[in-house]
């Protein structure tokens, strides 16, 4: 089945220690998104890639970076995680940036910062 896969499902890191979260998709979608979701809150968009074009949301901290080496994979890098970065990180994809394009989400990676 075509899907959005995130690894690992649970990640523990130490305060200030760089961490990378991974997302892959078999949907062959052009757009990949990263969201941050804190407990009992709605997902918050961090950035997205349309093909190789990177688009950062205005309020995304510089501490968060992303890489998309090919169509299938996208990575979220947190350069110096703080305690406030503990959250669920969701990857999503959509076929295009169309006004009516459904975004399909992966299962998420829950990040704990010690």
């Amino acid at each position: 089945d075509a899907m959005v896969i995130q690894n690992p499902r649970y990640q523990v890191t130490q305060f200030g220690k760089p961490v990378t979260l991974s997302c892959s998709q078999t949907l062959n979608h052009n757009v990949m998104y990263w969201y941050q979701q804190k407990s009992s809150q709605a997902p918050k968009l961090l950035f997205h890639y349309y093909d190789k074009d990177f688009n950062n949301e205005a309020d995304t901290p510089d501490n968060f970076q992303s890489r998309r080496p090919n169509t299938s994979f996208c990575f979220l890098d947190i350069r110096s995680p703080g305690l406030g970065d503990a959250a669920m990180y969701l990857c999503a994809t959509s076929r295009d940036l169309a006004r009516e394009g459904v975004q399909y989400f992966g299962p998420g990676t829950r990040l704990t910062v010690l």
Binding site: V4, S40, L97, Q103
Partner: protein
């Protein structure tokens, strides 16, 4: 920007009854809306969508109603089952960007 909100943060429903989850939006330019279901520890799962030129759309056991006059949409779940227990988000879309509401937690009582 878009502001999307849900009327009630929690909803408790008896198994077999119908559920109604409400959502209000502020930006009349939003022309596409999606309902997502998020189970504990999982990512949001697409349930149903509706375009602004429609006022009703039906899926399997779910119906979405859109009232553009009062900027309100609702999700109706027929014959609610234990597996329907989850957080439900409405989202309005402007271009590619989804604006999520805060979410309603639905608990199904046996």
């Amino acid at each position: 920007g878009e502001s999307v909100g849900l009327h009630l943060p929690t909803l408790s429903v008896q198994e077999g009854d119908n559920s109604i989850i409400n959502c209000a939006y502020s930006n009349s330019a939003s022309d596409y809306f999606i309902w997502y279901k998020q189970e504990s520890g999982k990512g949001p799962q697409f349930i149903i969508d509706i375009r602004s030129n429609m006022d009703k759309r039906q899926g399997q056991r779910v119906t979405v109603l859109l009232n553009k006059t009062v900027k309100h949409l609702s999700l109706q779940i027929a014959a609610t089952q234990p597996g329907d227990s989850a957080v439900y988000f409405c989202a309005g879309q402007n271009d590619y960007k989804l604006s999520f509401g805060a979410g309603t937690t639905v608990t199904v009582r046996a």
